[in-house]
Symmetry: C2
Subunit: 109 residues, 2 copies
């Protein structure tokens, strides 16, 4: 799996515009082949900061996502909104464990 965290800073006056753009991107990306998860969240300690958490089956799925029209549309809308450079980390995951309340840490396929 590849886990992406994409952190962005958006001026307060562009919040609603950002929410519309980000929500559309999440909904479209969740339909992409190999997308396990794609959500946007707001930082509760640092105002005007947001993070996208993306989970992809593999690099092929991520590369295919990059080539989708909605990705281009999103980047074109997002970049002019940024108050600071985005901080995007792409983690290639070797193993994932899930904390199961009944069984403790168990492997995730």
């Amino acid at each position: 799996m590849i886990v992406v965290t994409g952190r962005v800073q958006i001026p307060a006056e562009r919040r609603e515009e950002f929410l519309a753009v980000a929500g559309a991107m999440c909904a479209a990306s969740r339909e992409d082949d190999g997308c396990i998860g794609y959500r946007v969240y707001e930082d509760l300690e640092q105002p005007n900061r947001y993070v996208f958490i993306e989970e992809w089956r593999d690099d092929e799925a991520l590369q295919s996502h990059f080539s989708q029209p909605h990705t281009g549309t999103f980047m074109g809308a997002l970049v002019p909104m940024l108050a600071a450079p985005a901080d995007a980390l792409f983690h290639t995951v070797a193993a994932t464990l899930r904390l199961d309340p009944a069984r403790g840490l168990v492997a995730v396929d």
Copy 2:
């Protein structure tokens, strides 16, 4: 590195209580040895859902964090607030790339 995503669902009427508990946990955990990042965020599409993103140097740091008093205090306060079982994923990361606007994808130490 180990990246943790801890997703929780909290009843709306306990939001302020959750924010206080979560904020204290984030601040304390960022001081733990081997903590690279520890933040809490609110889901912008799904009401009453939140995620913690934690970044740890290695498993030793994560295990040490588990044994800290603030972790026990946090879990004791959090669990009774949960509207559904938490979903905590522990990703052992093989490699991390950062998207550099000038240089493209570059390795992160």
